[in-house]
Amino acid sequence: MTPGMILAMAWRNLWRQRRRTLLTLASIAFGGFMAVLMTAMQDRSFADFIDTAAKLGAGHVTLQHPEYQDRPTLTNTVTGTDVLRSAAEGDERVVRVVDRASGQTMVTTASDSFGAFFVAYDPALETAETFEYTDGLIEGELFTGADSDGIILGRILARNLGAELGDKVVYTMTDRTGEIVTSMERVRGIVSSGAPSVDAALVLLPIGTLRSVVGYDRAETTQVAVFLDDGRKSQAAAERLRGQVPSEVAVLTWDEIQPEIRAFVAMKIGGGRVFEIIIGVLVAAGIFNTMFMSVMERTREFGIMMAIGYTPRQLFALVMAESSLLAAMGLTASIAITAWPYYALSSKGLDMSEVYAQAGQVEISGVGFDSTLHIGIFPENAIAIGVAIVVATIAAGIWPAFKAGRVDPVASINLV
């Protein structure tokens, strides 16, 4: 009995109950569709979320003073940032390395004062790929160089301060020695991050100007932000960097810098996994039911086959071939029904602005969500779903296949 003959028999057996086979295929395909879409939504949103968190914060990997994490003051700095950047840029996963400085400040206008946090950056080095706020300019203009004039305010902060473009704003902070310093700039632009809590407290400054104000040298800052081609590689990239930078420089990943985001992502991933497992179990139960019914209906037939010389192993192989074919067809059907929706949602996305508008503030730890829903599955997760479909389908056939091989010819043929 050749494998080809077993496959041919298996194929024909599947189509003896055409409707049942089609329904089973539909359930596998739908299960695959749901799993891919759910996972793709999750993967893309987390990838975007992590990238956004990195852009708002200090990169996927951050080089900073060891005490800065617990005490983020302007006195805890790293120096020789040009050397640190060179060390980071030697990794092929790294797409950009920039100096950032951030801290607390008090901003004052003629009408009001508010506490705020500032981010100082080098406009010549930062792009929309690394700096979230450059995309959110709603009035005025961005800085053109590290020593540009002006100050950029978050949308809500500007409103609270009563500040408009060109208005004077005084900002106060501590310098590298802990002394209070003050500077005055005119409002150059107003930005919106999409996260109201951020927009209510955000101040942007050019890093050269900041260095002058707080007394840093040209290669000194609070953080060096390292951006990667994939945020999931941050652990490996950080590991490599730890061996290359001086011990007085701490190397932290984005989730170590922002543990609340890590917790959120972990919670969502866990929830997603549970959902995927539920889908998987339901699909597998459907397949098991199909295969088991198929075997039970053919008990007499299997008895005959045993009587004329088929071995239990051959009957086991026959039923396993049926479930394997079902798996292959289910996977194909899954891909067929998922391809177009996946393409549409990954390339064009789905406008969720009305939903978000109704939900009000949509942000996690200051990281806002894009109002257009895009999806994008990580390759390893796509493979895992495909493998899970095939494995679940084949696994669901094991017990029925075993039962087929254990049929008692006498009882099943009912000769007695």
């Binding site: 009995m1 050749t2 003959m5 028999m9 024909r12 057996n13 003896r16 007499r300 037939e301 005959i304 086959m305 045993m306 009587a307 004329i308 010389g309 088929y310 071995t311 239990p312 051959q314 010819p409 006498v410 043929i413 000769l415 007695v416």
Partner: protein, 233 residues
């Protein structure tokens, strides 16, 4: 003297269902020589089908010995029994029992395929057998496209194709009309006479008994009569 094809010695078989025991065979003795055309007959419940199951290595006796071509069956593994049924025993069942997804040709070929007979040899033999049983031109039909008599012809071809030592036919004419029954019995007699295939029938059909050259009467699980005829119909 040639080794008997089948030897049953003092065979008993007890079926147990819950607390109820049914003694189907009570010390059955039967020897069948190569080339015989034997009908085991008797009333319902007499034990004839049970005897056929034991000869066909489908079941095991409660006591006594069953030998096929001199080989005792009781010590063989499941796998060895499968191979024995595949290589040395042909079955023709009352309800035809063809594999529904296979064509007439494939059904007849299936046991040879299990035996690993080369394709060309299989094809030549199966085509000749289908012609011999009158199914030329119907090779590609599935069982549901054949009449009962035609299906039973395929079953006979399947039983013969593997070159068995013995063909066991359980009530092979029970589900067909008289004319078809005569035709089927004629085919089997021809195969018996021309190819020397041994046939053992379980039946209470007088038409089968008419064709048989030996009639073994079984009553209450024992051989009650054993009559040899000069020639069947």
């Amino acid at each position: 003297m040639a080794t008997p094809i089948v030897q049953l010695q003092n065979v008993t078989k007890v079926f147990t269902s819950g607390d109820v025991e049914t003694q189907a065979l009570r010390g059955l003795d039967l020897t069948v020589e190569p080339g015989e055309f034997v009908a085991i007959w008797g009333p319902s419940g007499s034990g004839k089908t049970t005897a056929l199951n034991l000869i066909g290595a489908l079941d095991t006796p409660t006591s006594g010995s069953v030998k096929l071509e001199g080989e005792p069956l009781e010590d063989k593994s499941r796998k060895a029994l499968s191979q024995l049924r595949r290589d040395r025993i042909g079955f023709v069942f009352q309800a035809y029992n063809l594999i529904p997804v296979l064509t007439a040709y494939e059904n007849a070929e299936s046991v040879m395929a299990l035996q690993g007979v080369p394709l060309a040899e299989r094809k030549a033999k199966v085509m000749a057998l289908l012609k011999a049983v009158g199914l030329e031109g119907m090779e590609d039909r599935r069982p549901n496209q054949l009449s009962g008599g035609q299906q039973q012809r395929v079953a006979i071809a399947r039983a013969i194709a593997s070159g068995p030592a013995v063909v066991l036919a359980d009530e092979p004419t029970a589900n067909v009309d008289s004319a078809t029954a005569e035709t089927l019995l004629g085919i089997m007699r021809t195969l018996n006479e021309e190819q020397g295939v041994t046939f053992i029938f379980s039946t209470h059909d007088p038409r089968v008994m008419k064709y048989a050259r030996r009639l073994v009467g079984v009553v209450d699980g024992k051989v009650a009569s054993d009559e040899r005829k000069e020639s069947g119909a």
